[in-house]
């Protein structure tokens, strides 16, 4: 099937539109010194800290704000309070041992990170995973896209005073937690991928439970839609707030729904398709105003599109093995390892010596729920990476926060920060 890309123009209710109250000045790159402190502000302005321990910063983000009354003159984010040196730890671990580090970065969509890492290493090693594994990973990634967007929806609702939405979305999230647990044994720290396949095949009855979720979730989504989309308070707090132009958004490296809300149709699933995404029938919603409301509409539509992909994946899920047939990287079955000596030696060698990757490097990115998730793996031929680098979408998205909120009100800081859908585990790594 040809690559299909439909550009949505998400429409807004013109009567309720607040429109353009916050207009960001375009970036004019000027060579030279950074902004100097104004001389005439003494006594009028104040510096305050928001965070690092503050519920509305969605983690341990600390924002130092220079305020003129309630208007933000300057915003200086401080990060690193959750720094766990994942990339350094990765250099001391085998290729497979890095998988548990990946889901601790974005604990809101762990399966996407598991899959992205495994895909990058497989590309480096030149491994083509089985057809079943591809479809299972597509299911994992789309399920976690919904999983992450639901958390975003609930917490952003709370930040803007719409508490009810949180109850709806977390009830649905709980069902996805159950699916995680049934498949991987863990609710958050899934660690489900291995190089060349998955930790295990889908358990019996899992697809039926997923089908039930796909059947019933749209109803909840429509209820949330009814609660928010035409809600006067929601529109007042989100339309025209935190707007960023398409040109600036690309320049700042925004990705995911934050970029598409500004009207740039960059979705890796369409632009550099992996795992046969070009054969799935789905659309990528594109906003036009780049404000919080458009980000909201984009994410809502993405959840609907993810449901379509999930349904197609369920329908086409092929049988066959989930792991590649390659004894250098895949463990023998537990039964075999416990019953014959050769399998046990094989098991021992793969675990103790690790999987070896050829000399080379690979930069591979997937469309995660938050934007472009790049995994850069560099190998010198050993069983551990020379360098494992994560291009986290949140890290780059949050860097644009000062640009979006300087000139806005203090209350908008909370709204804009929430709208970017950050996760500090991945920002601080």
């Amino acid at each position: 099937m040809a690559l299909r890309k439909v550009v949505y123009n998400v429409t807004r209710n013109p009567e309720l539109s607040a429109g353009g109250r916050l207009v960001n000045a375009p970036i004019v790159p000027v060579e030279g010194e950074a902004v100097q402190v104004h001389e005439d502000i003494a006594g009028e302005h104040m510096l305050i800290n928001i965070g690092p321990q503050h519920p509305a910063t969605h983690g341990v983000l600390r924002l130092v704000l220079e305020l003129d009354g309630e208007t933000v003159v300057r915003c200086i984010p401080h990060i690193g309070y959750l720094h766990s040196s994942f990339e350094k730890l990765g250099e001391y671990r085998d290729w497979n041992q890095i998988v548990p580090l990946t889901d601790r970065m974005d604990y809101l969509a762990p399966l996407i990170y598991n899959c992205a890492y495994a895909m990058a290493v497989e590309k480096l090693m030149g491994i083509e995973v089985t057809e079943r594994c591809k479809v299972v990973r597509v299911i994992c990634m789309e399920l976690d896209r919904i999983f992450s967007h639901l958390l975003w929806l609930g917490t952003t609702g709370i930040d803007l005073g719409a508490f009810t939405v949180f109850l709806y979305t977390f009830q649905e999230r709980e069902r996805i937690y159950d699916l995680h647990e049934a498949f991987t044994g863990a609710r958050i720290t899934t660690s489900s991928t291995r190089i060349g396949g998955m930790m295990a095949d889908l358990p019996a009855g899992w697809i039926e439970k997923l089908q039930e979720f796909v059947n019933t979730f749209p109803r909840t989504l429509e209820e949330v839609d009814t609660l928010l989309t035409n809600n006067g308070i929601w529109i007042g707090r989100t339309q025209g707030v935190g707007a960023i132009s398409a040109e600036d958004a690309v320049n700042f490296g925004l990705s995911g729904p934050n970029l598409r809300a500004s009207g740039v149709d960059y979705d890796i699933r369409k632009d550099r398709p992996y795992y046969d995404y070009e054969t799935y029938d789905f659309d990528v919603p594109i906003g036009e105003h780049g404000d919080i409301y458009d980000r909201y509409l984009c994410r809502m539509e993405e959840m609907r599109q993810s449901l379509l992909i999930l349904q197609q994946a369920i329908d086409r899920l092929p049988g066959g093995p989930i792991n590649v047939d390659d004894p250098r990287i895949i463990l023998p079955s537990k039964t075999a390892a416990m019953n014959d000596m050769e399998s046990m030696i094989h098991h021992f060698k793969v675990v103790m010596e690790g999987v070896r990757a050829p000399v080379g490097e690979s930069w591979f990115s997937v469309e995660s729920s938050k934007g472009e998730l790049g995994m850069y793996v560099v190998s010198d031929g050993g069983s551990k990476p020379v360098r494992w680098r994560v291009r986290g979408p949140s890290f780059i998205n949050i860097a644009a926060l000062p640009h979006m909120i300087e000139g806005a009100l203090l209350s908008d800081v909370i709204a804009v920060n929430a709208s970017l859908d950050i996760v500090l585990g991945e920002i601080d790594r």
């Binding site: 060579e31 510096l47 690193g80 001391y92 700042f252 490097e361 690979s362 020379v386 790594r429």
Partner: protein, 243 residues
């Protein structure tokens, strides 16, 4: 099988990681003709010998090596040249191969118009870890360059606000992602604890914030000092409005 592989998990905790033994860059020599990449052909015409090397890795990923002095010009040209226009800086990072080899700064580019990827690498010898910033080409480079500075000690000249980003501002143990950096840090655990307990208010702020506070005549609150912040709630208006 060597029995000491049991110990491998402990290797490098106190010393740095092993690093890469071979001296040549870690990409195997390419045999025969490389697949062509339009931007690399154009770069050769435009910059001539500034294109040091062209490699293809992992099947379809093109890497072009440029000398540090020309890197900014090459990147500026790639960003704006019609037909190329790599307007999206996907990533900016670095690789330390260890054993005294050059640190590679890696620019991963994507063009939203021509739908092309390109990776640009610059090799910096350890005794001159300096390169021009690309902050004014892509603002995405702002935090990415700060991260590379923080983790590898590469100085991006011209960056308006080059300071540590993930590690504390008063971190004195060096640059953690360098291969010679031990996994546990350079200082003893006791010294690390002592330093973290003796952090001053100023250590939590960047120089610019201290400058603003000085101009405003304001005493800065300590973000973690509960007793202190309770006193300062009134003085600074608290954070009640934000929640």
């Amino acid at each position: 099988m060597a029995n000491d592989s049991f110990k491998k998990g402990l290797e490098g905790l106190d010393a740095g990681a092993a690093g890469s033994p071979q001296e040549e860059p870690g990409v195997p020599p390419q045999a025969g003709e490389l697949p062509a990449h339009p931007s690399i052909e154009a770069l050769r015409e435009e910059f001539g010998d500034a294109v040091l090397r062209h490699e293809v890795v992992a099947g379809d990923e093109h890497i072009v090596y440029v000398p540090p002095q020309r890197a900014r010009d090459v990147l500026a040209w790639l960003k704006d040249a019609p037909g190329h226009q790599y307007d999206f800086l996907q990533d900016l990072t670095a690789i330390d191969w260890g054993n005294g080899r050059s640190i590679q700064v890696v620019y991963q580019l994507w063009s939203t118009r021509s739908k092309l990827n390109l990776r640009v690498k610059v090799e910096l010898p350890l005794d001159s870890l300096e390169i021009d910033t690309v902050y004014y080409l892509w603002r995405a480079a702002d935090w990415l360059e700060r991260e590379v500075f923080d983790m590898f000690g590469v100085v991006f000249t011209g960056h308006p606000d080059l300071r540590r980003i993930l590690m504390p501002y008063n971190y004195a143990e060096g640059h953690p992602l360098r291969k010679d950096f031990p996994l546990r840090g350079r200082f003893s655990r006791a010294e690390q604890t002592r330093r973290s307990l003796s952090m001053q208010t100023e250590d939590h702020y960047s120089p610019r914030e201290l400058e603003i506070a000085h101009v405003l005549g304001q005493t800065l609150p300590t973000p973690f000092d509960e007793a202190g912040s309770a006193d300062q709630q009134g003085q600074f208006g608290g954070m009640g409005g934000a929640g």
